[in-house]
Amino acid sequence: MDAFFVSVELLRRPDLLGQPVVVGGTAGRGVVAAASYEARRFGVYSAMSSSHARRLCPQAIFLPANHSLYQEISHQLHDILISFTPLVEPISVDEAFLDVTGSEKLLGSAEDLAWMIRGRVKDELQLSCSVGLARNKFLAKLASDFAKPQASARGIEPGHQVYRVVPGAELEFLHPLPVKALWGVGPVTLKKLESIGIRTVGDLAALQESDLQAAVGMSHGSHLFALGRADDDRAVEPDRVAKSIGHEETFSVDLITTQELRDEIVRLSEAVARRVRRAGVAAGTVLLKIKFSDFQTITRSVTPRSPITTGPAFVAALLPVLATIDAAQGVRLLGVHAQKLGEPNSPMRLFGDDGDSVEEIEQQWSATNEAVDEIVSRYGRQAIRPASALSDHTAPGDSPYGPDEFD
């Protein structure tokens, strides 16, 4: 999707069309979740601190993020995509891989399909997207980036909208690209590569595998070597299970009491647990992440006896950990993550054993959650939530302060 969060917001605020708009970072601090192409002209990008963004583009309009809405539209998008092929692998809230090998005979060439998808997204969601076509996932992702509108200080280029990497011409497309376009080339790797004179993917492809491994390490080196030759044989996996599901939140004012931490953990747990259930999985491990005011970050994980899917069970698992945390110095960020995701099949008991174990809470709440999920799906997230989360005016995942993670 093109500037997804911003485009969604602009549907509700058409008066802001054509203006630099930033989603996220509306409170005292926090980070940019998304920027319109107009804002990107000034060098504003997602994940940038909002204070930096304000300096670069003082006239930008900051809007609070509305993640529940984005999720909802993401589901609608998925429904559109799935009508073209069952082989849809979502990779984020607004990106997905489609394997259309089998659909071509039925519906037309891949390029025709791309334009049809674009048209339906435009018609049904009033949003625009860019489509990259190639013989593997890695190139398709690069092609879709290439197809997107490009913003620079000079202006906004509309982009190809649909871009196809012609079979046989993969390297001609790939090699002129800057090396940082490759997956797995972050700031550290980029620095290492630049230090040996690598700027484009073509430079990288000219190296021996062993030289590359010497520069960036064995496995990373062979990974990049393969990418440099456009080798990527991963299939589109429609049922790909997320490795973890989590929410993190940076607070506008530091939390200092255990009660505050507890309330936020309840809120985050509820949101994460709901996503865990929606994904049809259960959390084998729950992880609590805390960033203190001095930016020191700690993580603590808990593995209940059996996998859990309910907010109260998450909370019960994390409370003993919370008891060991001294919040007095101030907590800036909290994160709750569900990990080791597996089948949701916690065992049932013949009888309760009058303890308040995590498992037992899980079992007690399982039925209640089915009702809660039903209410939420009918009336929305604001309709029902934990009482301790009511003190806050935001719903889980609707924080204006910073990014929630979408895995």
Binding site: N345, S346, P347, M348, L350, F351
Partner: protein, 363 residues
């Protein structure tokens, strides 16, 4: 003190004593030892962790009377490692010499002052056949909880039922119940919760052809045979009302051969990891056993059997269901259920004395 014994006999006793002794850390060092006491040709070996005390009486070739305490793990490892044949122990004030066929060890002796002297429960003994008790324990002990935090569920309940002794254990996911009609060691209304750890040990050590005497005390119970005496503290807690879980009749009943089912469940366990349920579909055409994992593949196996009632699919913890089938006696087993989310009842065909209740898992 000094005596001669057979390696095999001594090793068996030391193994059991070491399991009791080493169970509790270093709060009292003497508890990590095994006490040796020789009177003429009678050797008494004892260890305790204060909850359970175990004492063996062995006939040996006595040489010099006396006593001494040796680290349990150490002496057990040494004697176990020796070749079979004669073993001589010579325990002095500071060190003990262990001489087996070809090998000799010399190890330090522990301070025995802190070793507790335990007396057996003073209640009057009741007796029953050791083989009967051992078999019954083998069927129920496995269902007891192994989580120390749920102490009352780590017990096996011995109670007087309508017709005799009743043994029951449960970890809340499953429950094993054994009736021993005609064994009237308890009077109606009496009930004791005995730690399953003690009973597991007892079951291993019982010989088939002997009598066992049981002294049910207020806070301790003692089991005694001619060569061993095991005293255990009782657990004082409420135990679920066992009979309330068993229904008089079940709507659906599947009958099949026991061994093939156990083998099929073992095979399914290859894919079914800890939390993956095994899905059993029972119908007129037999039973289908399926495992589906997220990322490790799937397995399917069909076995024969007869169904009365309607076809039924339910998921189970693969170990719990297999252990239940294994605990039944006889060549055939029945699995009875009313609904896929209500407890299943496993019994051996022709054996109404053993019942295994198992809660299904969602699949």
């Amino acid at each position: 003190m000094k005596f001669r014994s057979e390696q095999a006999e001594l090793s068996e006793a030391l193994g059991a004593l070491a399991r009791i002794a080493s169970a509790r850390g270093s709060s009292a060092p003497a508890l990590a030892g095994i006490r040796f006491a020789l009177q003429d040709d009678t050797l008494t070996l004892s260890s305790t962790d204060l909850d359970i005390s175990l004492q063996f009486t062995l006939s040996v070739g006595g040489d010099k009377n006396g006593d001494g305490l040796i680290g349990a793990t150490l002496i057990n490892d040494i004697v176990r490692s020796l070749p079979s044949g004669k073993v001589t122990l010579d325990i002095g004030a500071d060190s003990a010499n262990i001489t087996g066929v070809k090998a000799q060890f010399s190890v330090p002796v522990m301070n025995a002052v802190d070793f507790p002297r335990t007396a057996p429960a003073s209640a009057n003994p009741v007796t029953m056949q050791a083989a009967v008790l051992a078999h019954a324990l083998g069927q129920v002990v496995g269902a007891a909880s192994k989580e120390p935090a749920k102490q009352h569920l780590t017990a096996v309940q011995l109670s007087a039922g309508q017709s005799g002794l009743c043994l029951a254990a449960t970890d809340s996911y499953r429950m094993a119940i054994k009736d021993l009609p005609g064994i009237n060691v308890l009077t109606f209304g009496q009930s004791y919760l005995i730690p399953s750890r003690a009973l597991r040990e007892l079951q291993r050590l019982l010989d088939a052809n002997e009598e066992i005497a049981i002294r049910f005390g207020e806070i301790e119970t003692t089991f005694e045979t001619s060569r061993l005496q095991l005293t255990t503290r009782l657990i004082n807690a409420n135990f679920p009302n066992v009979q309330s879980f068993i229904k008089a009749a079940y709507a659906n009943k599947f009958t099949t051969a026991r061994e093939p089912l156990i083998e099929a469940l073992r095979r399914s366990r290859v894919l079914a990891r800890e939390n993956t349920p095994v899905k059993l579909t029972m119908g007129a055409n037999g039973m289908r056993i399926e495992v589906q994992t997220n990322d490790q593949g799937t397995s399917t196996e069909d076995i024969e059997g007869q169904m009365s009632g309607a076809e039924l699919t339910a998921g189970f913890n693969p170990d719990y269901v297999r252990e239940g089938i294994e605990a039944t006696a006889g060549d055939e087993v029945t699995i009875e259920m009313n609904e896929p989310n209500q407890p299943a009842v496993i019994r051996g065909v022709g054996d109404p004395t053993f019942t295994y209740l198992l809660m299904p898992q969602r699949v």
